[in-house]
Each structure stands twice: as structure tokens, then as C-alpha cells.
Amino acid sequence: MRVFTGTLSDGQTAAADHVRVVPEEDGLRIIHIETGREEFWPKDVLVTSGPLLKGHDTLLSHRDRPASRLHVPDPALSGILLRQVPRLGSRAHHRRILMPLIGLAVLVAAVSAFLLLSDFSPSRIIAGMIPEKARIAMGDMLARSLAGKGGFCDNPAGTRALERIVKRLAGNIPGKARPYRVRVARMDIMNAFTVPGRQIVVSNRLVTMTDSPEELAGVIAHEMGHAMEIHPETSLVRSLGISTAIMLLAGGSSDVLTDTAALLLQMSYSRKAEREADDHALRLLRESGIPAEPLARFFEKLKKELGASNENRFVELFSTHPLTKDRIARIRHAGTWPTHPLLDPVRWRALRHICDPAGNL
């Protein structure tokens, strides 16, 4: 049997007794040199504040007397103890710490991955919490800001024709009938936007570019799809950050709103959002008895135009609506359904001239 020398402190005072330490099969026998008193520390009461390291001195405590310390400078004791009580070693120590931590890390990673891959979107949840009134007020402000100096076109005959298209489409939106507001703006660019509060702005250049009321209806149906999915609200919340979102929740201040108009112009929707809007558009068109093919044709026309003039300003704008072959193909493959005419030629002509002064027709 090896005998080690060391010191034992009781943890009551800072004094230390010189002791002999004899490792036995089931624990340590400790003999106080000065008094001859003996005590026995069984294996399972031995504790340390950190892992016991091989080749280092040994500093032990007693489970039931946590302030007591037994110190043995001879590094040989730690080797003996590590064989007898493996739980004091660094492997056991690291396992105790790392297992729960790695578990926690895996959990965090899994939850993050799930949130990323799933439809969970905090921005959308917050967007959904914005009160109806605030959405409409905010959207109206943004629409006015987008229209700029040109303002909105209000030729009465044209407006009535536009109303007809909107009513036909909106009449087929499920749930409570909620008003959709579609306005044509005198804008130099060719685009259609949806702003919060189910409000849609179509530039007059886009109106004149469409060859049929069905084409225009397709574009409007697509924008209605964005409105139904509260895409504009969601995008605003996402790009403006949480603090502004909270202000919008409370109704917003005018400063914030005007600044966001510019932002809205640059905003792009994800492919997923565009597909959702396309799906809604196809459903609305089918239920309204309007063919989908003109929308596909319009997209094709647009694509060609974009390809031809790369330097153009509106190209940049339309690049925020990714126009892929897939999207056109999806519309084409939606099938056909019974249709009936949307606008007679007189009304269509009125709509195309919506930006002319009143009484021109």
C-alpha cells in the first residue's frame, strides 16, 4: 500500500492539519499526524470542483462537508484515484457538461432550420395585426406618394369600366366581401403595385400596353392575389424593422409613411410570394369566367420588352417581379374554362382613355 502525505483543512478555519493518506479499495484512509486520529473517506463521498488531472496534485473535498479540502501534492495519487473513481476524471466531467450543451445546440439548430424552411414568418404575423383602418390610411398615402405629381386618372367613363372589372373579380373572393380599390395613375413607368389595405395602383402606361380587358384583368387579379396574402404589409414590416412595425400598428405618423413609398418601389417579392399571387389570380379568373391565356401573353410581351431594352428604367422596376418561364408555363397549364365577355369595345376604349380629361368620349 502506498502512503501519501498532505494537508487537510476542515473548512471552518484556514488552518491545515498534516495528514497521511492511504488509498484503499473503497476509499481513502486519512491519518492526522499530530493527533493520530483516523478518518475514512469512502469513494462515493469524494468530490472535486474541477476534473482531476493525471500528473497533477490532488485536491479533494467531502460531499457532506463541502468546505473541507484534502490536498496531496504527489501526482501519483491522482492516477490511482482516476482508476478507482472514473467520475472524477476529465472525460466524465466533459461528458456531463457537453452532452446537455450539444443537445441544446442541436435543438436550437433544429428549431431555426424548421422556422426557416416552414412558412413561419414573424413579419407576416405582425402585418396581420395592423388594424384595417391603419392599413387603408397607410396604403392610400403610399399610393398617392407613388402616383406623385401625375396623380390619379378619373375620367368617369373609364373609371366605371375599371370598376366593372374589379367588381367581377372581387365578387369571387371568398369570405366577407371586402372592397378592393384599383386606381390608374399617370406614371412614366410601366408597373402595377399593391399597397396595404387592398389598394392597387396601375400605371396608365401599363393600361395602354394591354391589348384586351382580359389582359388587364389578369394583371389586376395577380395584384389582388398579393393583397389577399397581405404581401405588401408583410414586406413593409420585414424591411422597416420591428420598431417601425409597432408604430404602424398604432396607426403610424405621416413622416414614416412618406419615407416608405420609395422603399415600396424597390421592394421585391420572393418567388414563393409571386407564385401565391399567380395561384390566386388563376382562381379568380376561373371563377369570374375570364380566360388566363391573355395574362400569359401579357407576361410574355413584358418579358420580350424587358429583354430588348436592358437599360430602361422600368426594367429595373419590373425585375422586382421575377418573370420566369416557369410562371408563364404555370398559367398556360392551368387549363381552360367557360368564359364570357368582360367589357364591350366601347367600355374598353373608355378604360384605355381613363387618363384623358372627362367628356372626351
Binding site: G11, T13, A14, L101, A105, S243
Partner: protein
């Protein structure tokens, strides 16, 4: 320590950084174990869990009200307004006040988790009181163009040292700011001279540029000389029972330590920072001497509560040293 640094890095990667607090604990355990007094080692008994929860609690306690306050201001004044900046100022002031509280609490946590012969330390005073002194004395610095610095240093060191306990026994510090004034004045004047030369580089570059280079060296040297003087003086005036302390820091060795540690941290991208911490620690320990007798049998265990978590505030404010 290099092996330990790499192990900590590996574990941090495996746990997405969560191991930070446990790694810190492990480094401290090694550092404390390296110090011997009468042949017996010091022991660090803190745990990573305590640091982790301390951080979580402080982060929540600090972060949530701060967010609420900022959002409320943005509501009232709108973002990017002048009023917003104005009302954020008290927040900065409050955070500076908290930094003093955090320093004291971190020190207290470390002392409570430090044992020798099973007896632990503590700080017996109030962290809010220390935080307040730390705060208001800092306000004197700009008012006196920095000249209150030695006075403030001694004042804070005295609170900290005299609150310090090993078991139930207190430390004392018999220090005054006057002995620090000479070296401080030299350092202050060197800084002033350097900036004066720097201001003159536009007017007379041929004279002022070389002068500024020389004065920069002088400024560094006198700064380190003051620092070494301060460390040696404050340690030398400390007492514990019958024990006297002394410290032998020198400007040259301090410079060597700063530069080499900076290189170690920068070149290893921070991975070897435990090595740098150990070197700084070793510098202090090897240059410190303790003489005299202490009646250890008369020192009883400390009886104040241990506290369940540690250093949350200092971690949350990101101002920790080791």
C-alpha cells in the same frame, strides 16, 4: 494552455458558442490552480452554468426594458429625431453607472468562488455604493482635465480592497493619492506635449513630425511608468492580518506583456486569448510577494450568501477582462 485553447474552440463550435461560459470557467480553474500559498493551491469553484444563467438574466433584465424605452421614444418622437437622441442620453449615463456596479459584482463573484484551504473570499460592501462612487468620481475627470485620476483610482481601490474578505478577515489599504501625483503629472504632460506636437504638424511639419514621433514614445513610456508605479504602490500599501504585499512591475516588462499579448490575440484571431490571459495572470502572480505571518487558525469561513449566478451584468455589458 494552447491545447486548452484549441479544445475550447472545438467545444464552442460543437455547441454553437454555448461553451463560452464553461470554457471561461475551465481557464480560470487552471489559472487559480497555478497559484500556491504555503504549498497549497488556490481553487476556483465557479461553474459555467452560473455564468451562463447570470448572463441570461442580465441580458433579459437589461435588454427588455431598454427595448421598451427606445420603442416608446420612437413612438413619441419618431425615429431619427433629435429628441430621440436627447432622450437616449440618460440611457447611456445609466449604462455607465451600471458598469461600476458590474465591476464590483464580478469581483465579488470571483472572490466568492475562490478558495484556499476551503476558505473562500467575498466583498462585504454594496455594489450600488461602489457603482455610485465609480460614477460620480468619473464626472470629475473632465472637470479637472484628468487630474483627478490618481485620486479617483485610490478612492476606488480603497473601497474595493477594504471590502475584500478572506473568510471573515478583511484586507486594508493605507493609500493616499499624493504619492501617485508625480508620475501622473509626468504622464499627463507627455500626453499634452504629444497632442501639441500633433497639432503643430500642419504648421511646421519639418519640426513637428519628428517631435511628435519622439513624444509618442515618451507618452507611452511615461504612461506605463505611471501604471507600474500605481500597481506597485497600491499593492505595497495593502495589508492582510500580519501579511504585507509587494509588487515589482516595471514599464519595460508591462510594455513587453501588452505587445506580446496583443500579437498573440491578433495573430491567432482570438483563439489563443486564454494563453494571453494566462500570461497576464502569471505576470501579476510572479511579481507579487507576500511576507509576514498570518494566524490562519483564527480565520473563520465567510458566512455571506454565495449567490446563485455570476457576472451576468459584466458579460451582458461586454466589458469583461478575464
Amino acid at each position: 494552455m494552447i491545447g486548452l485553447s484549441l479544445k475550447i474552440l472545438l467545444f464552442k463550435i460543437l455547441t454553437l458558442g454555448l461553451y463560452h461560459f464553461w470554457g471561461k470557467t475551465e481557464v480560470r480553474r487552471r489559472l487559480w490552480n497555478g497559484i500556491r500559498l504555503n504549498g497549497q493551491p488556490f481553487e476556483y469553484t465557479g461553474t459555467g452554468k452560473e455564468l451562463f444563467f447570470g448572463f441570461l438574466i442580465a441580458a433579459v433584465v437589461l435588454f427588455l426594458p431598454t427595448m421598451a424605452y427606445v420603442i416608446m421614444l420612437a413612438f413619441i418622437f419618431g425615429p431619427e429625431s433629435r429628441e430621440l437622441d436627447l432622450f437616449l442620453l440618460p440611457l447611456y449615463v445609466f449604462f455607465f453607472f451600471l458598469s461600476g456596479v458590474a465591476i464590483y459584482r464580478a469581483m465579488r463573484y470571483r472572490l466568492r468562488r475562490t478558495r484556499w484551504r476551503g476558505i473562500r473570499g467575498t466583498l462585504a460592501g454594496s455594489s450600488w455604493k461602489y457603482g455610485w462612487t465609480h460614477f460620480w468620481t468619473a464626472l470629475t475627470l473632465p472637470l479637472t482635465f484628468g487630474w483627478s485620476y490618481p485620486w479617483r483610482t485610490v478612492k476606488l481601490a480603497r473601497i474595493m480592497t477594504e471590502d475584500m474578505r478572506f473568510g471573515n478577515r478583511a484586507f486594508s489599504l493605507d493609500a493616499h493619492w499624493k504619492p501617485l501625483l508625480g508620475p501622473f503629472a509626468l504622464s499627463w504632460l507627455s500626453i499634452a506635449a504629444f497632442f501639441a506636437a500633433l497639432a503643430g504638424t500642419a504648421a511646421a511639419p519639418l519640426v513637428a513630425v519628428p517631435l511628435a514621433v519622439v513624444l509618442f514614445g515618451v507618452m507611452i513610456y511615461t504612461g506605463l511608468r505611471y501604471r507600474a508605479w500605481e500597481m506597485n504602490y497600491l499593492t505595497g500599501r495593502m495589508r492582510f492580518d500580519g501579511a504585507r504585499f509587494s509588487m515589482s512591475a516595471t514599464p519595460g516588462s508591462l510594455l513587453g506583456l501588452f505587445v506580446s499579448n496583443l500579437l498573440i490575440i491578433v495573430l491567432s484571431l482570438g483563439i489563443l486569448s486564454p494563453v494571453a490571459i494566462m500570461r497576464a495572470f502569471r505576470y501579476m502572480v510572479t511579481r507579487m510577494r507576500i511576507e509576514g505571518d498570518v494566524d490562519f487558525a483564527s480565520i473563520a469561513q465567510a458566512t455571506d450568501p454565495m449567490g446563485r449566478t455570476g457576472e451576468g451584468l459584466i458579460e451582458a455589458l461586454d466589458m469583461d477582462s478575464f
